[in-house]
């Protein structure tokens, strides 16, 4: 199934074709000969896990980055984009996951930005109103963007593309920021836009969306196209196998390094986890959420009535795609975010390893000692006994095996892996009962990542700490966690481990929402 027969598309029907696209960032290959052909007047869903290369592929199609190899055709004619302006000129519009709008400006001004010639507010506004009415996307040209709800801002983004006469719309995770009703509304609009002759590329994590609105589906895995076919020719289980690389006769070989480092560790972690399960069950939970909900500043509900308990000695793995709630869940557990409603039970001090290490965890220009003291910064009083803290730091460097010349060198001189080990050791030192860890291997090389994960698996102490661990890499979570919960659309549910420890299907299904009854899409079908 590795190279599913690609739908043969006559040139005159193709809107956008990408062939053999390869993109490298330094030593990392983000795309490795990926391909897909988008037919005119269709909705084409691009599916893939985090890091599979979906967004990179579409950035190449939108001229944001120039691929190292491969060809691009628009309406059958080969093109080479120097910038997104070239792509826009070819009738391609993209709505990014994070909107590209200036909140202090009006809708008209935002849409006029990047245009050419004289700016005349009334003609632009009239044009916006015309496009909005014709395509059925209500927007108020005179409204200020900051006063608009997220869904309205998204409509502005779409109208912006359409005013520039885009015939091919690329939508990057458009429903991630929407409520179920709004998502249904948007998908309905996408369908009608395609039925009227437009072309839509829908980047999504949600399998169900793809199966509801798409005509064609392309699945990317580790930078390669594993499936690209008409939706009617595909079954859900088929697509899930493609997404995860499981199933029989898979041609999608995971990168060899990953297989060698992660494969065996998953199994060993499982064995130890069974042992641990036994000793923690009897203890009272260290962290507990009862009916916790969180609505963010933009009014989007991120967590819905979450109940959760984490026991000593347990490593709770949290999976879920960006925007589905893991970030907020971790911050509420760490006491860095107050829930909108519900009850949080946690120890006074909870260790927290945030994903943006250099921004949120350490001060790069400060010495190691000062970075250690930083964790006490809020409640330190009076004189600082620096010689004592220097001693504490020296001990910490030794016990955590952080490779550093001494306690007085700036944090910035340490390698990323050593910085992260320092942060974890520091948080463990001040918080013995609970530790929250978010994407700890971000930006680290394979060896450093493997060490961090090994450290987390073998955290000592008595009683053992309760650990909550989130990573966008499913393999990492499975290699560390003793129990796994999934965040999807603000709900948090436990995932039952499959009988075959190497089977990742239940996890991927849970993350993409394909294990749930229709939900928002059911309304669509009615």
């Amino acid at each position: 199934m590795s190279t599913e027969p690609v739908v043969a598309t006559p040139r005159d029907q193709e809107a956008l074709a990408l062939e053999g696209i390869t993109v490298r960032f330094g030593s990392v290959t983000a795309l490795d000969g990926a391909h897909c052909t988008i037919r005119r007047g269709t909705v084409h869903a691009i599916l893939g896990e985090n890091g599979a290369g979906k967004s990179t592929l579409m950035r190449a199609a939108f001229g944001w980055l120039t691929p190292d190899a491969g060809t691009l055709r628009v309406h059958g004619a080969p093109v080479r984009f120097q910038s997104s302006a070239d792509a826009i000129a070819q009738g391609i519009g993209m709505v990014h996951q994070h909107f590209m709008l200036i909140s202090a400006m009006t809708v008209t001004e935002n849409i006029a930005l990047g245009g050419q010639g004289r700016f005349d507010a009334s003609t632009t506004a009239a044009r916006i109103a015309e496009v909005a009415t014709k395509t059925g996307l209500p927007v108020d040209p005179t409204a200020r963007v900051r006063d608009l709800a997220v869904s309205a801002q998204q409509r502005v983004e779409i109208v912006k593309a359409l005013v520039r006469e885009a015939q091919i719309l690329i939508l990057d995770e458009p429903t991630a920021v929407l409520t179920p009703d709004q998502a249904t509304e948007l998908l309905r609009w996408v369908r009608s836009f395609a039925d009227a002759g437009g072309t839509v590329v829908l980047i999504t994590h949600k399998l169900r969306e793809a199966f509801t609105v798409a005509d064609d589906i392309t699945v990317l895995r580790q930078g390669r196209t594993v499936v690209s076919a008409a939706r009617l020719a595909l079954s859900e289980s088929h697509v899930i196998e493609a997404l995860t690389g499981t199933g029989t006769g898979t041609g999608a070989t995971p990168a060899s390094v990953e297989a060698s480092t992660v494969g065996p560790t998953i199994r060993s972690a499982r064995i130890s986890s069974e042992r641990r399960m036994v000793d923690h069950i009897a203890d009272a939970p260290v962290l507990r959420l009862d009916g916790v909900s969180y609505v963010d500043a933009r009014g989007v509900t991120r967590l819905r009535a979450v109940d959760l308990a984490v026991h000593p000695g347990e490593i709770l793995g949290v999976i879920g795609v960006e925007g589905s709630g893991p970030r907020e869940l971790l911050r509420i557990l760490a006491g860095r975010l107050a829930p909108t409603s519900g009850r949080v039970t946690r120890p006074d001090v909870v260790g927290f390893v945030p994903e943006d290490r250099l921004h949120d965890a350490v001060i790069p220009t400060f010495s190691l000692t000062e970075n250690l003291v930083l964790a006490e910064g809020g409640h330190a009083r009076g004189w600082m006994d620096w010689s004592r803290w220097r001693g504490v730091t020296r001990d910490l460097l030794a016990t955590a095996d952080v490779r550093a010349v001494g306690p007085d060198i700036p944090m910035a001189t340490l390698s990323g892996g050593n910085q992260q080990r320092f942060v974890i050791a520091r948080e463990r030192r001040r918080a013995t009962a609970a530790l929250i860890v978010e994407n700890p291997t971000r930006g680290l090389d394979l060896n450093a990542s493997a060490r961090i994960l090994a450290d987390l698996r073998t955290l000592g102490g008595h009683p053992r700490p309760a650990v909550v661990f989130h990573s966008t890499d499913l393999d990492e979570v499975l290699s560390v966690a003793t129990r796994v919960v999934v965040c999807f659309d603000g709900h948090v549910a436990e995932v039952q481990p499959p009988l075959d420890p190497n089977d990742r299907t239940p996890y991927t299904r849970a993350m993409t929402g394909s294990d749930r009854p229709g939900g928002e899409i059911a309304a669509e079908r009615r």
Binding site: D360, T365, F366, L374, G377, G378, A380, R381, W383
Partner: protein, 322 residues
């Protein structure tokens, strides 16, 4: 050219009078003002309103000195001078407090508010010296001379160096100890270096720390204003500051925000100020040339090593946009 530089040198260090009655007298306000600016910058607060805070300190110190003088009976020096210092510092802190408040309440960048407050302070002096604080004859736009007990003592007989210089030195020493040896100082440095890490990793109350530093920064400037009235001018008038509050930014930047180096940096700029008038007098070179030198020093320091301040400004901008 050589002649000009010689005149500059002579004016600043050429005689004991030049040193003790010109250079160091001009350095005195720069010590406190530069320190105030440096402390604020260390915490990521871009307080460039030292000038206004200085003027408010000068107004308040004059007012308290005058009213204590008219209370009948001689209020002793030991009471009047500390009162002037206290009231001046409070006035400077309140003036800075306005900027801190509009920052926290409405998100107005302190770069803008403190500059605006400078103009208001300048206008306040103009009004004061033509209104409530004008001298009894009502002819000149200035206050009457402050009474004898309110005049700060000179340090060396026959020279004009006054108590304010010693206070400035002490303040720099205290600030240095606080920044490097105490928990509060550590919090200030952490907040200035990375607000996000200070909050996320340290649980430091950023808003509270920033507010306190802002107030202390204003207090330093206000105290400098009181010292200038008590030690140098003995009266209030519009041109009481030749832009000390702006030179103070250069003082702080040249010292790389380090309290110890503030002393060196303040004396350097004090010498430039003192030498400039001598140069104009003896060599006929306009004293604005020195301002050009000052500006070049600021540019040089900024280009050289002040990424911290620039990064701080960028962070503030980003936070204001949120």
């Amino acid at each position: 050219m050589t002649e000009a530089l010689l005149a500059l040198w002579d004016g600043a260090f050429g005689s004991s009078y030049a040193i003790w009655s010109a250079t160091l007298v001009r350095s005195a306000p720069l010590l406190l003002l530069g320190l105030g600016v440096a402390l604020a910058f260390r915490a990521g607060v871009l307080n460039i309103g030292a000038e206004g805070q200085f003027l408010m300190g000068a107004i308040s110190a004059t007012a308290i000195a005058q009213s204590m003088g008219s209370m009948g009976g001689a209020v002793p020096r030991i009471v009047v001078i500390p009162m002037m210092a206290l009231v001046g510092a409070l006035a400077g802190a309140s003036w800075a407090g306005i900027a801190a408040w509009v920052r926290q309440r409405f998100g107005v960048l302190e770069v803008i508010s403190t500059i605006m407050l400078n103009f208001i302070a300048l206008a306040s002096i103009s009004w004061m010296v033509r209104g409530p604080l004008q001298e009894p004859t009502r002819i000149y736009p200035q206050s009457a001379e402050i009474p004898g007990p309110a005049q700060w003592p000179f340090l060396i007989p026959g020279q004009r160096l006054h108590l304010g210089f010693v206070i400035g030195l002490l303040a720099c020493g205290i600030a240095w100890v606080v920044l490097t040896r105490t928990a509060i100082g550590f919090r200030i440095r952490a907040v200035g270096a990375s607000r996000s890490a200070a909050t996320s990793a340290g649980g430091i109350a950023v808003a509270g720390t920033v507010l306190r530093v802002f107030l202390v920064s204003g207090a330093c400037a206000g105290l400098a204003g009181a010292a200038e009235v008590g030690g140098v001018t003995w009266a209030l008038y519009e041109g009481i500051s030749p832009g000390y509050g702006y030179t103070a930014i250069a003082v702080a930047l040249l010292a790389r925000l380090h309290p110890g180096w503030i002393i060196v940096s303040a004396i350097f700029f004090g010498a430039l100020e003192a030498g400039a008038s001598a140069m104009q007098r003896d060599a006929g070179i306009p004293s604005v040339v020195v301002q050009v030198i000052v500006a070049l020093v600021i540019l040089g320091v900024l280009a050289g090593s002040q990424r911290r301040v620039i990064a701080g400004a960028a962070t503030l901008g980003a936070e204001a946009r949120r």
